[in-house]
């Protein structure tokens, strides 16, 4: 597909700055709107003391509910987009994405298995989600690298998604009513669970791994050139692959454990950014992270506003945007190949 090697159309720095400003604005909008709207002008007052009487509820909503959620959507969006970029370079395939390849559903299957079988607490569920994502990534890699081009990976993704959803299906049948309500959360995805205590561990963990990915841009560029070329450039490909797969699973696994399956961010964002900036990973990676954060922040805002005071699962919102985009991508690829 031509999008992989598309040439740069815009200078990277202005684009990055624009994205960053847009993210800040989106963050402010997300902090001020919701079931209760808080005027922008009140934000500083609510955040930094001098609260007027009657502000207590607004302050609670802003500080304890919205802020951790907005920050979480920023981290999660960046993580999903960055793992999309990494996998696309790793598999040398523009369609690689945690959801499509089955990593997210592998993680969901692991989580659901833990919920139904063990009755274990959060850490049992999260580690099972991680194990599931690791296994799915490994399988996708093994099968996907046997075939040239898109087919192998997509077929592997279909197989993994089928296995994962049948595991989830069987467990749904076994689950009691109380467990069922937890399962829908994993399958549809939600940021409702985001609070300060979750953010306190998943935030630093994810940011650390994202920083690691950022400095890997040379390897990712080399991978794009092809195996032999990368080897000539002095990279030990087998080791690089193993490392990048592990890092992707380490990012996606715990994230899915907290948010459930949020699809398509990892596919849509890198594609759009690549159209604008080209495939140079030095810029593609950071720009995708910021754009992913922006997209997920807006998606979460939409999920909170559309049916307010109720909420939509965020996975629904991203799939509504992502599904048609994916379709368009496939149509476009076909015409380009002719």
């Amino acid at each position: 597909m031509n999008t992989m090697v598309g040439t740069r159309k815009f200078a990277p720095r202005p684009v990055l700055v624009t994205l960053a400003i847009a993210l800040i604005l989106a963050g402010l909008a997300a902090s001020s709107s919701g079931a209760v709207s808080i005027p922008w002008s009140n934000l500083p007052r609510l955040l930094w003391g001098q609260a007027a009487p009657g502000d207590a509820m607004l302050q609670n909503i802003l500080v304890d509910i919205r802020l951790p959620r907005v920050l979480f959507s920023v981290v999660a969006g960046a993580a999903l987009a960055a793992s999309g970029v990494t996998m696309q370079a790793l598999f040398r395939n523009p369609l690689a994405e945690p959801g499509l390849v089955g990593i997210s559903s592998g993680a969901a299957a692991g989580a659901v298995l833990a919920i139904v079988m063990t009755m274990g607490g959060f850490f049992v569920v999260a580690s099972m989600a991680f194990a599931g994502s690791l296994l799915a990534t490994y399988l996708a890699y093994v099968v996907g690298s046997r075939y040239r081009g898109v087919a192998g990976l997509l077929l592997a993704g279909i197989a993994i998604n089928t296995i994962a959803s049948s595991v989830i299906g069987v467990l749904t049948y076994l689950a009691d009513d109380a467990q069922l309500r937890d399962l829908t959360f994993w399958i549809l995805g939600s940021l409702a669970g985001a609070d300060w205590s979750t953010l306190a561990w998943i935030g630093p963990w994810t940011l650390l791994l994202l920083a690691y990915l950022l400095v890997q841009w040379r390897v990712l560029n080399a991978l794009l050139l092809g195996e032999r070329e990368a080897a000539h450039l002095g990279f030990d490909l087998a080791a690089v692959r193993r490392r990048l797969i592990a890092v992707t699973a380490l990012i996606v696994g715990p994230m899915v454990a907290v948010t459930g399956g949020i699809g398509f961010v990892g596919l849509v964002v890198p594609h759009v950014v690549r159209m604008v900036l080209g495939a140079h990973h030095r810029y593609l990676l950071p720009a995708s992270m910021v754009a992913g954060a922006l997209l997920l922040t807006l998606a979460d805002l939409a999920s909170r506003l559309v049916v307010s005071p109720a909420e939509l699962p965020i996975g629904l919102v991203t799939s509504l945007v992502g599904g048609p985009f994916f379709f368009w991508l496939l149509m476009r690829g076909r015409t380009a190949a002719r």
Binding site: G34, I65, R181, A192, G193, D195, P309, A310, E311
Partner: protein
């Protein structure tokens, strides 16, 4: 406004001011909402959830989603001074955080049994400061149940299939339907099964129920009673042969609510 003053007067009479202060109540769970209205306190509700479908007035209130996936901010936004939540409401973490934010949240008994119904009425009426009305309601239901249970029981094997969209789901042990059948002196043909599971046409024939009770919504979803009788498997059951396939209001058969006495009576009449 009228109701407000009425409530205020009641509060003054009973002197239970702390409980009576609650004028902005959010209800989470249809079985809770139903009782609040039954106690005549519906006017104090500012929001409920998607599962609150009875009475009709409950469906016109703002909805904070489904009671099992409660949105934190949505509830806080209603500025409730009391949240009455079914014990099945959740997720637990959200309820915990609601309490952490200083929202008065009271968890109310909600399992499919008549004891739970009495407990629920007691808890809700206590929280709303209308304890005497609660006691009166419990007495009324006890009376209705006792007189309905005094009617002769048949011990027939009954099956309760529900149809939302597609195949029948049979109500097994631990469901509200199972509890209502037991109260009416009927045997659940699916007592061994836990919860709601799909019943095949062959399964229907093997189970050979003497009586089939379908909820009125299921009749509607199936496209009428004729369609149900024409379904594969149904015609071969003793229930169909003996003309004991009956429709019952959803609230009567799929929950143990304030009209449980009426449910028992209807079932016993249909079983004869």
């Amino acid at each position: 406004m009228k109701r407000y003053w009425l409530a205020l007067c009641l509060c003054g009479l009973m002197g239970a001011q702390a409980a009576c202060a609650a004028q902005r109540v959010v209800s989470l769970g249809g079985s809770v909402t139903e009782i609040i209205y039954e106690l005549g306190q519906g006017g104090r509700l500012v929001a409920d959830d998607e599962s609150s479908v009875y009475p009709e007035a409950a469906t016109r209130l703002p909805r904070v989603g489904y009671y099992r996936t409660v949105p934190l901010e949505g509830v806080v936004a209603m500025r409730p001074d009391l949240v009455l939540a079914s014990r099945n409401a959740g997720p637990p973490k959200t309820l915990e955080r609601l309490r952490g934010l200083g929202v008065e949240l009271v968890s109310v008994s909600d399992s499919p049994s008549i004891d739970s119904l009495y407990e629920r009425i007691g808890q809700i009426s206590g929280q709303l400061g209308v304890g005497q009305m609660g006691d009166a309601l419990i007495q009324r239901i006890r009376g209705e149940v006792a007189s309905a249970q005094a009617l002769p029981a048949t011990q027939r094997r009954a099956l309760v299939p529900i149809n939302r969209s597609g195949p029948f789901l049979g109500a097994g042990g631990g469901t509200a339907a199972d509890a209502v059948l037991a109260l009416a002196g009927l045997k659940n043909a699916l007592a061994e099964q836990k919860g709601y599971k799909q019943v095949s046409a062959e399964g229907l024939v093997t189970l050979a129920p003497d009586m089939i009770i379908v909820s009125s919504a299921s009749v509607k979803a199936s496209g009428g009673m004729d369609k149900i009788l024409a379904q594969a498997g149904v015609a071969s059951t003793p229930a169909a042969r003996e003309g004991r396939v009956v429709a019952l209001d959803d609230l009567l058969i799929l929950g143990v609510g304030p009209r449980v006495g009426q449910a028992i009576r209807s079932l016993k009449e249909a079983a004869r």
